[in-house]
């Protein structure tokens, strides 16, 4: 099932399907290893539309809510 990264629950995994952002956003995410095909795990979501912390490979990355909404994942 496809959903936004912000909709992943705690400890839920997904495979990144697409990044619906402009070139700038995509470039910055790619540099950190967030690319389509990678598996991501939700570590925590902050309340009030705060940042989402995820794990990709062995890196933990916090992504602002607005940016995380643009990352579409295939939930397992």
């Amino acid at each position: 099932m496809e959903k936004a990264l912000t909709e992943l629950k705690n400890n839920e995994c997904g495979i990144i399907a697409t990044i619906q952002g402009g070139r700038g956003v995509t470039d910055r995410l790619n540099a950190l290893g967030i690319i389509p095909g990678k598996k991501v795990t939700n570590i925590s979501s902050s309340p009030f539309h705060g940042p989402v912390t995820i794990q990709v490979d062995r890196t933990k990355i916090a992504i602002g809510y607005g940016m995380a909404e643009k990352i579409i994942v295939l939930a397992e």
């Binding site: 540099a31 570590i43 912390t53 490979d57 062995r58 990355i61 602002g64």
Partner: protein, 568 residues
């Protein structure tokens, strides 16, 4: 020969740098501080070679100012040492592949090698060397393992100039390499990995942040007060004072020179906090009142910087910071500001827009007291009780929040989104911690102490000739009328432009009430940046924004100071 040290942020690059060159450098666990690079020299086969610590970058296609600088360095280097985090090959090898495509010899330092074993990671080094067609040396910045091999391999490295690839192809290749050389074995979650995750979760994170903040302040006061009470004050009272009293006798207990060197006697003896002589108060204030807190503040700040906690604080505060027109990342320069405003304002470069940089630097310059200011706030108000210190911080916090809120409303534009790597917690290497502390203490002694001494002397002379009284009379409507301070305080307030610590030290010599001390401390912190901060603000913001920023500071300092004077 120029050697470039390149790698992702948080891979221990700066520690390798200090191992290679042996000179003191500032190294921290988060991106930002190495913008504006560091350089040193190392010995290769008896010859001296230049080493440049390039700011951490994830890719050669720059996404922010710091990364732009990194790719510019490539053009001037002769060889690259690519520092790679062995516990995180998947992300690190992308930059390695990009570097191998350039026309420059590359040596790969597989750093944090000592951490791979207990993380259950096994790496086939020979296979990695073959696949990368480059020398790969396992290293540990912490223990110094592999540093010698690294230096030896530099001369034999050749440029491999691999075929240029597209981004997708590179990520694909990273995946294939990692699959071939890395084997992971199952292992239990270590307890502090749980702690790592807890710090970004809302409830756990909030409790941890409060606990860290509270214990930091407690330890800072404990160390500072103990240093004063058990070491520095006894040193001055029991060893230094007898010599000074002899000198005082030789000078005849009064007169021009006695006034300058010893100052006024109280009940026939020297009072280090009130005599105001060069050799009495002039030495006592910086060395026995400020220095102990400088030591304790920088010690704690160094630990917080190097453990990797700050990025977690950024996540926790992101939602709040958006209300101030910033995102969570801005908390890192802000926290640095508690050390010194100058590197803090330089560190705002990691923020994306000019708008953010203006808000962040203005907020830092107005509401974040640097270590020397804080040392004096503690020194001045410590004996009056913790609640007065808390009052100063609370006022500054309120100003910080309200001003950010207003600036966010007034200035056009949106605040960009947070995107930050959360590094694992690491034990700060004691070696670096001590080096860094020593550098900062030395900086204080060399830069601040002479200014305090000069100020004491100038004021003494002005006082002797009565000029001081004229200045004080002219400014007294503002100083006494609005702020409720004695008119003599004007000297301290002017001195604040040069050194805040020195200025607050002057306040210590005026015998003020706790309320006046609170007003004075808040006013001095907010009013005007010290001359060094002023210079950085100028270079970072430009003339127009600097004027705006300074106008804000002065207006706010008088309003808030006046308000405190009325309501306290």
């Amino acid at each position: 020969m120029k050697t470039l040290l390149m790698g992702n942020p948080n891979v221990g690059k700066s520690v390798i740098f200090s191992r290679l060159t042996g000179i003191n450098v500032i190294s921290s666990n988060y991106p930002g501080t190495t913008v504006g690079f560091t350089q040193g020299f190392m010995k290769i086969g008896g010859e001296s070679a230049q080493v440049i610590d390039v700011p951490g970058t994830y890719t050669l296609e720059p996404a922010c100012e710091a990364e732009e600088i990194a790719s510019k360095f490539l053009e001037m280097g002769d060889v690259v040492i690519n520092v790679v985090d062995a516990t995180n090959l998947e992300r690190n090898l992308y930059l390695t592949l990009e570097l191998l495509e350039q026309d420059i010899p590359v040596v790969v330092a597989l750093n944090l090698w000592d951490e791979t074993r207990h993380r259950g990671i096994e790496i086939d080094l020979d296979r990695l060397r073959t696949l990368l067609e480059a020398p790969v040396i396992p290293t540990s910045g912490l223990t110094g393992q592999g540093i010698k091999d690294l230096v030896e391999s530099i001369t034999s490295a050749r440029s491999s100039r691999r075929v240029q690839k597209s981004r997708e192809e590179r990520w694909g290749e990273v995946g294939r390499i990692v699959k071939e050389v890395q084997r992971l074995s199952h292992r239990h979650h270590r307890w502090f990995e749980r702690l790592e995750d807890a710090s970004v979760k809302p409830v756990g994170g909030f409790i941890m942040a409060l606990a860290i903040l509270a214990s930091s302040f407690y330890v800072i006061r404990l160390i500072g007060e103990s240093l004063i009470k058990f070491i520095l004050d006894p040193l001055f009272q029991n060893i230094w004072k007898p010599y000074l009293m002899k000198l005082s006798g030789l000078l005849g207990s009064e007169g021009f020179f006695h006034g300058i060197f010893i100052g006024k006697l109280f009940e026939g003896t020297i009072s280090f906090t009130q005599s105001f002589g060069l050799l009495s108060s002039g030495l006592y204030v910086p060395l026995a009142m400020v220095l102990p807190y400088i030591i304790s503040f920088y010690f704690i700040l160094g630990i917080i910087e190097d453990t990797g906690y700050l990025p977690r604080l950024a996540v926790l505060l992101d939602t709040t910071m958006h209300k101030l027109g910033l995102h969570g990342y801005a908390i890192i320069p802000t926290m640095l500001g508690f050390g010194c405003n100058v590197p803090a304002i330089l560190a705002t470069r990691v923020l994306e827009s000019r708008r953010e940089r203006f808000i962040a630097s203005t907020l830092i310059a107005i509401a974040v007291p640097c270590t020397s200011s804080q040392a004096m706030i503690f020194g001045l108000l410590g004996k009056e009780g913790g609640r007065y210190i808390a009052l100063v911080y609370l006022t500054l916090l309120i100003v910080w929040i309200l001003l950010g809120f207003v600036l966010n409303r007034l200035m056009k534009g949106l605040s960009p989104e947070l995107l930050i790597e959360i590094p694992p917690y690491r034990m700060p290497p004691i070696r670096l911690l001590v080096q860094k502390l020593w550098l900062r203490i030395r900086g204080f002694i060399i830069e601040a102490v002479p200014i305090i001494l000069a100020a004491v002397m100038v004021i003494n002379i002005l006082f002797n000739f009565g000029i001081f009284g004229i200045i004080a009379d002219v400014t007294s409507p503002l100083i006494t009328g609005v702020l409720g301070l004695p008119k003599e305080a004007v000297v301290a307030l002017i001195l604040g432009f040069f050194r805040k610590d020195a200025a607050l030290g002057m306040l210590a010599l005026l015998t003020l009430t706790p309320k006046q001390l609170v007003v004075g401390s808040v006013f001095l912190t907010m009013s005007f940046p010290c001359i060094a901060t002023f210079a950085v603000l100028f270079s970072e913001l430009g003339v127009k924004n600097l004027i705006k920023s300074v106008a804000l500071m002065i207006t706010l300092a008088f309003s808030v100071g006046g308000l405190l004077n009325l309501i306290l």
